[in-house]
Subunit: 326 residues, 2 copies
């Protein structure tokens, strides 16, 4: 009995002081203003009876995915998935050899494939993200993640997640925050790996989506993915997605590009909230880019962050480690 | 120290055996096949190492709202809210006296107001649910709930929630289930009271929605409610809403009308899942209706429930108490 009582106290103590018991909760972050700002925010938000205290139910933290939680170069990983799918499906679609944007994709000419703008993108999405059930799509994504390799690092894409951000997610959760993804990426794509990779369950992933149609086929209920876009969770769509899915205003938001600006502005409207931006400044360990950039352009959001004192991560300076495999 | 250790053990014990410690977790349910089916499902789902075991992360329980968690007669409560709003806003809209559907509403002629079908409904929604920020709308709903009285019971609408269903929600949560609302009602309307009344936080409410627009006005970020419908979470829209918001298939679903049929079918596709229907059979304590009915028609879903052995609550027989105030 004595031992069980002792064990019970230890369990309670660990639950009450998760970060202290575990030592430095952010070991991959270098000491400095950025790390201090994060730790100070969490301390203030969890300090009982302080004016800065945030009740646990309101501790909503939102994160962009591409470029914020994992890398996004040389192209969005979901686009790499779509291009690989076109190549895999080409034998069943012989006409693609002579039809754009597929012909360019099969010739590995990506700028050519995207030259048709939105029309081309819709055709690629229609061919790779629709015409199947949600379960079939999830399996296709899982199979791709298990086998595809990132061209520069020659590792599975899911290893290209940022170690400091994994620590930040865990640190926030240990302090009672609910962590959410709010990304322009496809919601059905991200949910395949969000739980395993980030510890974020499917119901806490907000993303862009295509239309779904319910159908009963041979007595089996199905949800079919249709080629029409339903919602674009990017730019001004991000606060809309947050309200639609979460219904609460975040107190913590992290992004990395101009597509995250409105999410950060919406969060900044909450008193005492934290706004963070990842600035890609490390060409050696990752990439260095901001403006102009075809992927993850960071211009207006960086200007506003500097004007308003938001926290800007200088990847090269602030991150001791970028990827776990380093 | 001894006392704290003892307290710690009690806390842990209560957390481990919530239903046993509390005695009968469903005191407002009469003993019988319905109550037994619920208890048997929960026991099977939580039995470690049994084939029926459902991992905690997959314990998703979904509930319709109108007619399942609270009453829906003589009209959906959200419609009562909209009609009251029209009356409140009439002095600022003198033209309504001679324009339909508003003229009929102001004359308390509800069938007349709804005679124009969808067009009339869209006009009522546009006048009462749009043209304001999400925050302003939430305040309007909260003010109405605080003052409006149900015509038959002369009590606030939020007292018209079913006591047995409140117990069921708490029982499921005590056994590690995440409880969700999946309703045809407006998501922004339900979120105002879902946490307080049902213990269901805003991020676990799925509903119909209008379009939102993000805007910065005088430096203040706003989300404006627009008059266009974005999503109808009813009928075949319910499994779509479940996939879109939750991204997991439920293992437990409760509805009361044909609008819940597809949600129940989708849930029934999960092995070992529980499907329940509330059948309104108690004209004395509540109402008795199924088919035909202008509100909450129950016909195809009842036929399928009987054919497939789903659990059908006979309100008169199965509920010891309908409302807490009885």
């Amino acid at each position: 009995m004595k031992l069980r009582a002792f064990a019970a106290i230890v369990v309670l103590a660990l639950a009450a002081f998760p970060s202290r018991a575990a030592g430095d909760p952010l070991p991959s972050w270098n000491d400095g203003a950025t790390k201090s700002a994060i730790v100070a925010f969490v301390a203030a938000a969890t300090k009982q009876d302080a004016p800065s205290f945030v009740p646990p139910a309101e501790r909503i933290a939102v994160f962009d995915n591409d470029g914020t939680l994992w890398a996004e170069q040389p192209m969005y990983f979901q686009l790499a998935f779509a291009l690989d799918r076109v190549k895999a499906l080409a034998p069943q679609n012989p006409k693609w050899k002579t039809t754009e944007p597929f012909a360019s994709i099969l010739a590995s000419d990506i700028p050519g494939a995207l030259a048709g703008g939105n029309h081309s993108i819709m055709q690629i999405i229609g061919a790779t993200h629709a015409g199947m059930t949600t379960g079939e799509f999830a399996k296709t994504v899982a199979d791709w993640l298990a086998t595809a390799k990132h061209p520069r690092f020659q590792r599975p894409y899911t290893e290209l997640v940022y170690q400091p951000m994994l620590e930040l997610l865990a640190y926030l959760r240990a302090n009672g925050f609910q962590t959410w993804i709010v990304s322009g990426g496809g919601v059905e794509f991200m949910r395949v790996f969000s739980d395993k990779v980030y510890g974020i369950p499917p119901q806490q992933v907000v993303g862009s989506s295509g239309r779904l149609r319910f159908e009963i086929k041979d007595g089996v209920p199905l949800l079919l993915k249709e080629p029409e876009i339903d919602f674009i969770d990017d730019g001004p769509g991000k606060p809309v997605g947050i309200q639609r899915f979460i219904g609460r205003r975040p107190v913590f938001a992290f992004g990395n590009s101009d597509g995250d600006l409105q999410m950060l502005q919406w969060t900044a409207g909450t008193k005492g909230a934290f706004e963070g931006l990842v600035h890609h400044t490390d060409a050696e360990r990752e990439w260095a880019y901001d403006h102009p950039s075809a992927v993850g352009q960071l211009d207006a959001a960086l200007t506003e962050a500097r004007a308003k004192g938001w926290t800007v991560v200088d990847m090269k300076r602030d991150w001791k480690k970028v990827f776990a495999f380093e």
